[in-house]
Symmetry: C2
Subunit: 217 residues, 2 copies
């Protein structure tokens, strides 16, 4: 029996791919058909060797002295990220962050099809936010099953996050995008990605502090 | 001359530290004074060896069979992330995402002191959002200099992001937290952290896709 590698790509590489996609989309709009590693790496201030390795993960093959075919590379990155498939999603918690995500058109290009939102606040229920209706939270499992929802987005506060995750699991949701600063307990077959905004803040402030201590040392 | 290591810690480790902090804060509230690596790793589903290595970066020393002193560990992680220093910040773009960030109380605990917000929309100017006043964008450099602003948060769309970054640089802002899906051009001494929400979505969807292809292969 061959051992199944669950996640084959290193996460730092996976995390760089969406930035490549942004750069490539602009290059594609400018009607360029080929792009070099160096061009991409310069725009993102990355090491060209690193960029080459990351792109190789998607199965793309570059031509010597010409570079990568732009359209094919975009397709490969999207496929690698799972953005070539439309997935039905629901969002729970229509506060500012939830509203921001509902309004972010870009996510549709990444296959994220949010078909319903939920909240516990009666004042929110029945609203339509960027084309998405808001339902009472209790309806989640039923609606999730009926519409074969694959992804659940949690934008409630930390105290309610586990409860919301439990409802998503009852609705057979397989992937949870969790913005609440709270680790979730889920069955093994459910994938959770914690989108902690504080992680990104920490990267910034720790770099600033590092620079400061280098200056004074 | 000794070579200055600009950023000494590996970014994946830095990215895990905020999650440790969340777990430790809860443990601290429960009045526990010591915590083991295993307890932390179990709650976050990480490898205990990895957790030990990450924590060692902060300079903490654990006691055999007792673990780490919780309060000291919290202090060390905060110091490592640069969250032991208050930094004045401004935010540009008070749409849904900007509003969400202004309202996120947690950031104050991380030293982020947002003292002013800016927008280009006349309807937004003069508003007070979660205690922060909204000023016209042109005022940014002047206000940034006067209040010694260190951090700038960009929550405008991709098309306006570079222009906003340029204003921040004119105001001598040294760290930019960029939520716009656009790489910024800044002088070498300015630190930029791109908080692309799509990065986190990509990690989730690529894992789901990987699982699906393992099932069918």
């Amino acid at each position: 029996m061959r051992k199944i590698k669950k996640f084959s790509a290193p996460e730092p590489s996976m995390r760089r791919l969406p930035a490549y996609l942004h750069v490539l989309s602009r290059i594609f709009k400018e009607n360029q058909t080929f792009v070099s590693c160096t061009t991409i790496s310069r725009q993102l201030r990355l090491d060209p060797t690193q960029v080459r390795k990351d792109l190789a993960l998607t199965g793309i093959v570059g031509k010597p002295r010409v570079g990568y075919p732009v359209e094919e590379l975009i397709g490969n990155i999207k496929a690698f990220l799972g953005w070539d498939i439309q997935r039905n999603a629901v969002l729970v918690g229509v506060g500012s962050l939830g509203t921001a995500i509902l309004g972010y058109q870009q996510f549709r290009l990444y296959g994220l099809n949010i078909i319903a939102a939920f909240d516990r606040d009666p004042a929110q229920i029945g609203r339509n936010i960027f084309g998405v209706n808001v339902y009472p939270i209790e309806k989640l499992p039923e609606i999730a099953v009926r519409h074969q929802i694959e992804l659940g987005i949690i934008t409630v506060n930390a105290d309610s996050a586990q409860e919301v995750a439990d409802l998503m699991i009852r609705g057979f949701i397989r992937g949870i995008w969790n913005f609440a600063p709270k680790p979730l307990e889920v069955p093994n077959e459910v994938v959770v990605e914690n989108a902690l905004l504080s992680v990104s803040l920490g990267v910034l402030t720790s770099k600033l502090k590092q620079i400061e201590s280098n200056r004074t040392s």
